[in-house]
Amino acid sequence: MLFNRRTLVLTAALAAAAPFSASMPAFAQDTLNNVSYDPTRELYREYSEHFNKVWQAKTGRTVVVSNSHGGSGAQVRAVVEGLPADVVTFPLEGDILGIEAAGLIQPGWQSEFPAESSPYTSTIVFLVRAGNPKGIKDWNDLIKDGVEVITPNPKTSGGARYNYLAAWAYELERSGGDAQKAQDFVAELYRHVPVLDTGARGSTNTFVQNKVGDVLLAWENEALLSLKEFGAGEYEIIVPSLSVLAEVKVAVVDKNVDAKGTREIATAFLNELYTPEAQKIFARNFYRPLHPDQVDPAELANFKDVKLITVGEVFGGWAKAQPEHFGEGGIFDQIYSKD
């Protein structure tokens, strides 16, 4: 008898859950899951509204875009483990390569959309407290005595990997290509880090809300957003002599869209990223647009000229850099296994 009652309860529960999990569908409505990384919350909130209008004008149907955000590592894992993503928008090619390796995305996705499937870019800059009390100008100032650096953990955060690689590239160039010097420099840099948050947003919160550290290694868009939200009087942006070009990559998750029949809308969602309207949204949200000519010049003033290296040139691409530097037992781990 107890068993029957239990079954009843479960059945009732599942019956109650069923309409809920279908997200209360209205008629003539499409849904799309965009799985993205930490700092793009504000960007895709705005872009989804824009896309809804475009889609409605084109097809007469509304679309509900579910944007999922988190550390890129955790997000990639969720997609590989079966999170029903239609499209993915990640800061590293390496992230999408991981999904490709799991058989969810067909090889050759890089050429599916213009500019190697990279509709916008960003870079890494420094955010310091008002007046720059520690006099930080460039990467080598970060390892001065008494400077505390805030950066997330490269094991879990894509942005943190760019921070690390930018520091490496700086010292590599300064020393004329000495990899050992570069490694020592990066090791010294991490000795100045009091806390490794798991995501870029966590680090920004540590620096801004909790007021820990002297300098935050940040996505350019995060740094600009901090100025906008918390006032220019509180923080300053310092652009180092050299930084890294962060090529954001987008892809349709082939296996999922074929199973759900959402390829058309998923492709439309990503193609729309290359339109002038979308490029304006990027600039407004402090991402470097692919086509600066389509954007209000006043907004371009935010993006300072800086020498940008790419992961391809200096590190031989993500497929090589990822295991070498950030894999289990890689250089980042070695840095912390020395006393």
Partner: protein, 298 residues
């Protein structure tokens, strides 16, 4: 200290019984308790409410007009409404089996029931992903043959919640029922009551307070679970995001208003906790005589 209290006892027999500490000791202990609780519990609680109201009451309330927030609240209520009854049924069955009988391996069984307490919430989510994810045999079978998605959907959130709140009710009941023994039940049975009648009219009234307490705690924890649900939910906004996840999403958002929203929702959960605790306290006060009678019998 001991001698002092003994003397004080003689000096003031009317006020001070032999089983009380002297006034200074008592006051010191009370002060220490108040200090520890204030430091570890009250201050964090107050800080949540302060941050929720940082921009005034209006922005705090506007949180609950956000469709995402509403959907998170509904999902949380749904999850608790499923998880708590499941664990209630289990708690009663387990307590009955363990407390009313003696068999080898009882300690082992109790330990197994405690196990979810010691499993890292991250691992709790992981075990279900490994077992029921869409790329596992069971997950693929459910998804392809029945179209039922467990992981990254509502059923997974429910499962993870059941797991982490698994021991609460059983844990409340087992020690009490063990303490009460089987005397009352045996008396009822020997007077001709059926097993169900015995349970309904003898056991249940004896344990109803512990039961209620267990349900309240189980419910609070079910609504507040973060780690396990975070691993299993996929954080699809408006679909698989519970209140704690929504709080984290707000917290990570970069608008000043989102910070207020995060703490407003946290304040609701904290307030919910306070209300359930208030209900419990009120019930204890209201039915103090019954409660005392239940205890006195043993």
């Amino acid at each position: 200290m001991a001698d002092v209290s003994f003397d004080a006892n003689i000096a003031a027999p009317a006020v001070q019984s032999s089983t009380d500490e002297s006034a200074p000791v008592r006051i010191a202990l009370i002060a220490l308790t108040v200090f520890v609780l204030a430091l570890f519990l009250v201050v964090p609680l107050v800080s949540i409410f302060v941050q929720a109201l940082a921009m005034g009451i209006g922005p705090a309330l506007s949180t609950f007009r956000d469709p995402e927030a509403i959907s998170a609240i509904l999902l949380t209520l749904l999850v608790a409404a499923i998880a708590v009854p499941c664990n209630l049924l289990f708690g009663i069955a387990a307590a009955w089996a363990i407390a009313k009988y003696r068999f080898p391996g009882r300690a082992f069984l109790v330990t197994l029931i405690d196990l979810p307490f010691s499993v890292s919430p991250v691992v709790a989510g992981l075990v279900y992903v490994l077992l029921l994810g869409p790329f596992t045999p069971i997950g693929a079978w459910l998804l392809e043959d029945y179209g039922v998605r467990i992981i990254f959907a509502v059923p997974g959130v429910v499962l993870a919640t059941i797991f982490v709140t698994f021991p609460f009710i059983a844990r409340e009941l087992i020690p009490l029922m063990q303490d009460q023994g089987t005397g009352d039940e045996e008396a009822a049975l020997s007077l001709g009551a059926s097993g169900w009648q015995t349970f309904r009219h003898v056991t249940l009234p004896n344990v109803k307070w512990a039961l209620l307490y267990g349900v309240l705690l189980c419910n609070a924890r079910a609504m507040g679970e973060f780690g396990a649900v975070a691993v299993i939910s996929g954080k699809l906004r408006g679909e698989t995001v519970t209140m704690p996840l929504q709080i984290e999403l707000y917290y990570q958002e970069f608008r000043a208003l989102a910070q207020v929203s995060a703490f407003s929702m946290a304040a609701v959960l904290a307030g919910l906790a306070l209300v359930t605790l208030a209900i419990k306290t009120w019930l204890e006060w209201r039915y103090a005589d019954q409660l005392a009678a239940t205890r006195a019998g043993h």
